[in-house]
């Protein structure tokens, strides 16, 4: 109850609904627009072709997000004629690799930060936090020199996995440490009395208990890697090694105007992450607002 708290039950919400529906339509318009381009079967930016002297209604037709005729041809050819399937595969391999490496490293580190007291503990946590403030471009130049010029890992999936995994560690560590802190220590002490080693406790007591948090962290890592654009665009300069984001931009960047492919590809790429996001957003909000500044 707030601004509208004086409305009682029985009082109509109709004006409010009108406003909300209008704003919601405005909000989802770009999405409807891209969907209708995807199903239009054409590469053009225009939903409908305008006649010579367009009337108001012709123009209204041109902005209505409904394709003139339905066709799946954009989806078909973007996956078969274009190398988009290959780019999706690259993205999938890189995102899964990032998730596995990043989450494993983050789990062990978060466990140590949560359960052990050792010199450098505070410094380590602070270092992780501060590293989140390093601006992307400041990291981009040295990373480019180190990975591409020194190690020759330009246009390779491995290079991108390494970079994504390490840059995802701090956020994952903070998330996981927060969760590990809530697991009562009694369980471990009981296991310790039974004679279990620290490694065993970690694997068979803590990790199973922390499964939900690990899953959420893993999904975040995956999503971040899947959606990343700048590093991929900088490191992957061979067309066959593009990731999906770089590939989508390739369709409509520069002088290329293949909006149909772009729209179909965007939908294929977005649908899984949009659902993932809707599922994860409540964890994200609490994690972010607790973590303070993050760039």
């Amino acid at each position: 109850m707030a601004l509208f708290s004086e409305r009682r039950e029985g009082i109509s919400h109709v004006p409010l609904h009108i406003v909300l529906v209008a704003f919601t339509l405005f909000t989802i318009y770009p999405i409807l627009w891209v969907v209708s381009l995807a199903f239009s079967g054409k590469q053009s930016l225009a939903i409908a072709t305008l006649p010579e002297n367009p009337t108001f209604w012709d123009r209204l037709r041109a902005v209505t997000p409904w394709p003139e005729q339905f066709s799946f041809s954009n989806f078909q050819s973007v996956m078969t004629d274009q190398p988009f399937a290959k780019w999706m595969l690259n993205s999938a391999i890189i995102s899964i690799g990032t998730t596995v490496v990043g989450v494993f490293l983050a789990c062990t580190a978060a466990y140590a930060f949560s359960r052990f007291k050792f010199p450098g503990q505070r410094t380590g946590m602070m270092a992780f936090l501060v590293s989140q403030m390093f601006p992307g471009t400041l990291m981009l130049i040295p990373l480019y020199i180190i990975l591409v010029q020194w190690l020759g890992l330009g246009s390779s999936r491995l290079g991108l996995i390494i970079v994504y995994a390490t840059t995802s560690i701090p956020f994952s560590v903070w998330m996981l440490k927060g969760y590990f802190d809530t697991i009562p220590k009694d369980l471990e002490e009981a296991a310790l009395i039974e004679g279990a080693s620290v490694g065993r406790i970690f694997w068979s007591v803590i990790l199973p208990l922390a499964k939900p948090a690990v899953a959420v962290t893993a999904l975040f890592s995956f999503m971040t890697a899947w959606n990343e654009f700048i590093l991929a665009a900088t490191f992957m300069d061979q067309e066959t090694m593009y990731t999906a984001p770089v590939g989508l931009r390739f369709f409509v960047g520069g002088f290329s105007q293949q909006w149909g492919y772009f729209a179909a590809g965007s939908i294929i790429v977005s649908v899984p992450v949009v659902f993932l996001f809707l599922f994860l957003q409540k964890y994200l909000v609490s994690g972010l607002t607790a973590g303070g500044v993050k760039g």
């Binding site: 109850m1 707030a2 902005v63 990291m139 010029q149 965007s266 809707l278 957003q281 993050k294």
Partner: protein
């Protein structure tokens, strides 16, 4: 590996002192004069041995390499002298004919060496002393098909000479040298007659090892003598500080002694090289005079053997006088240069070794190792992540900062950073340039879009407008959705979150398409109501608007979700009570709703400011800085400097400034939140 050495035998007692958990090792300590005394002595000795041993090993390696370089230089210069001397004679003989054969035969060769002369006219092997060119293949003859590479090499040299002459410079090598699979070296030079390249001379020398191996004795002496001194000193002195001081002095003496020896060796080697080349030059000069007389060769211009000692462009090195005697002044200059380089390297080694010595001697290593062992489990769990972070986050960060003090760009990336060092110049260029706008002739203000302060102002404007829009729209929507008993609230909520859920690069590209001048939906709507479509990306203001619309669209859901969460946690009784007290709606909003929103909204705004400040994708993909870089924010500008103008050093400095701004922002924000908490 070797740094763990003191852990093992002489100093186990030290471990005991540092960490009481390791009592088990205590009984095995055989220290004769009390536990800590023995271990501390051992520490000093091990420290000195390690530091000095390492430093001397590296210094010896450097000396051996310098020696090998000098040897290679000597062999190369002697070969070039022989080659160019022979070429000189061949040219005087006209490049072809019997005299050429006679000169080649008469030119002294080292054991196993050989020479040949190619003439372009007729593709002929003019003369040769190679063992395979005997019998039916004896010169002069036409080159066979398999020997085409010889002819090609000659043509390459001719092209190089002509290019250099046309450009009036020295860009292409006029003397080719290559190492053959056998290890010998083959050099070739063009033959010029009357300004035309008419052929080439090739000179083969077998493997020559002219390097005197450097003896290990001096290094060993420089190692053992200080160590022996240190053993005596350690037992004579009782205070650990004094022992370490003695060890440091002995280290300096040992390395210093070896430095003196190295520099002397290098100097002698340099002199020897010049003398060897000079001797070669003089004997060959005399031979040339004799051959010229014997075969009645062209005596004009006067024979100047000094020019035979030349580089790959046939420019005289100038280390020897025209008569072929070492030039004392130049020798001194070169010697000083070599000594300076060597001195610098050895100085660095000294500092490094001293650090090792102090680290071990003062017991820091001990404590470090003890801590590492005591907390080994914790460190083992943290290590993988830490190593990854250090290698790929902290090291690149430090490297980026270092880069910002250099003039690094795409074209000089092979040079070491120390040679590109320009100090604070990048920073003064960025921060010291205040000419971000000037008044044009007609009185209007013209902005310099590349100027840092222009971009900074633009970025601040961008951040403030975006966050304002995001917070306003998000808050209003949250209030609307929070109306009790609102139907379809979950549906609205999910649909309104979609912009945040979409990958933002896709959002950016979609909006760029919607703002297309001819086919874009936005212009259609404008035309629908009788307006004219705009060229959105042609003026800074409209381009800014496109980016603002895009970012506003994708940033309000975050604020909405945060506000909605906070609103829903306000207990309804508070409003009931307020109403009972007669508060109106506005009073309820300011007294209850806003204070309840604050704890959630303030962190969200802080976060949102940083996000928007760094919102690379939207600017990069929607406006791309158009027109003319006017809608660039700081991070995209830094990217363009790095990857479109290839000024890595400048871009690194730019990024460091951005980092500074963010750091100040977060410090101010921290202090403010602490102040509000305390209040």
């Amino acid at each position: 590996m070797s740094q763990n050495a003191p852990q093992q035998s002489p100093s186990a007692a030290g471990t005991v002192r540092a960490s009481p958990n390791h009592d088990a090792t205590a009984p095995s300590d055989p220290g004769p004069s009390g536990r800590s005394g023995g271990s501390q002595r051992g520490r000093v000795l091990v420290g000195l041995a390690l530091a000095l041993g390492l430093a001397l090993l590296l210094a010896h390696g450097l000396l051996v390499r310098a020696q090998a370089d000098r040897g290679a230089e000597r062999a190369q210069r002697k070969s070039v002298v022989a080659l160019l001397g022979l070429t000189d004679l061949v040219q005087r003989a006209g490049g072809t004919g019997d005299a050429v054969g006679a000169v080649v035969a008469g030119w002294p060769r080292p054991q196993g060496g050989a020479a040949r002369v190619i003439a372009f006219s007729g593709i002929k092997l003019e003369a040769s002393t190679f063992p395979e060119d005997t019998g039916d293949k004896v010169a002069p003859r036409r080159l066979s098909r398999e020997e085409k590479p010889l002819y090609d090499r000659g043509q390459r040299l001719r092209a190089a000479v002509e290019t250099n002459r046309e450009e009036g410079g020295a860009r292409k090598s006029e003397v080719e040298s290559e190492t053959l699979p056998s290890g010998g070296r083959l050099l070739s030079a063009p033959v010029e007659v009357d300004g035309q390249v008419v052929g080439s001379v090739e000179w083969f020398t077998p493997v020559l090892t002219e390097v005197d191996p450097i003896s290990w004795t001096p290094a060993l002496l420089a190692f053992l003598l200080p160590l022996a001194g240190c053993v005596a000193g350690v037992y004579a002195l009782s205070r650990q500080g004094a022992r370490v001081a003695v060890a440091a002095a002995l280290f300096a003496a040992g390395l210093g002694g070896y430095t003196v020896y190295s520099l002397r060796t290098l100097d002698a080697e340099l002199r020897e090289t010049e003398e060897a080349v000079s001797a070669e030059l003089r004997t060959r000069g005399e031979t040339a005079q004799k051959l010229m007389a014997a075969h009645d060769l062209n005596a004009e211009p006067v024979l100047k053997p000094g020019v035979w000692d030349a580089d790959a462009m046939r420019r005289p090195l100038g280390q020897l006088t025209d008569a072929g005697v070492p030039d004392a002044g130049k020798l001194a200059v070169r010697g000083a240069q070599v000594r300076g380089d060597a001195g610098k390297a050895l100085g660095a080694l000294g500092v490094l070794g001293l650090a090792v010595l102090l680290f071990i001697g003062m017991g820091a290593l001990h404590r470090t190792v003890a801590t590492a062992v005591e907390f080994r489990q914790a460190y083992a769990y943290v290590a993988p992540a830490m190593v990854g972070m250090v290698l790929l986050v902290f090291f690149p960060f430090a490297y980026g900062i270092t880069l910002s003090f250099t003039d690094a760009n795409l074209y000089n990336s092979s040079q070491p950073l120390s040679e590109l060092w320009i100090g604070l110049k990048n920073y003064t260029d960025i921060l010291g340039d205040f000419s971000f706008a000037k008044t044009a002739a007609d009185g209007s203000l013209v902005f310099n879009y590349l100027n840092f302060y222009y971009t900074l102002l633009f970025t601040i404007l961008w951040t403030v407008t975006n966050v304002t829009i995001g917070v306003t729209v998000g808050l209003l929507l949250a209030l609307a959705l929070n109306v009790p008993n609102l139907r379809m609230r979950p549906i609205y909520r999910v649909l309104l979150i979609l912009p945040w859920a979409m990958p933002n690069y896709i959002t950016a590209l979609i909006w760029k398409g919607m703002f297309h001048q001819q086919f874009g939906v936005v212009n259609h709507v404008i035309r629908m109501f009788g307006g004219e479509g705009l060229a959105w990306f042609d003026s800074p203001l409209t381009a800014f608007f496109t980016a603002l619309a895009t970012n506003g669209w994708l940033s309000f859901p975050f604020m909405m979700v945060v506000s909605l969460g906070a609103l829903q946690s306000i207990p309804g009784e508070l409003y009931e009570a307020a109403r009972v007290d007669g508060a109106n709606r506005w009073q309820q909003f300011t007294a209850i709703t806003l204070p309840a929103l604050k704890p959630a909204l303030v962190p969200a705004i802080i976060l949102s400011v940083v996000w928007t400040f760094n919102m690379f994708n939207i600017i990069f993909l929607v406006t791309g800085g158009d027109p003319g870089g006017s809608t660039e924010i700081l991070v995209t500008q830094a990217y363009k400097f790095a990857f479109e103008r290839y000024r890595h050093g400048y871009a690194a400095a730019y990024s460091t400034v951005i980092f500074g701004i963010l750091l100040i922002y977060s410090m101010v924000q921290n202090r403010m939140s602490r102040a509000t908490e305390a209040a």
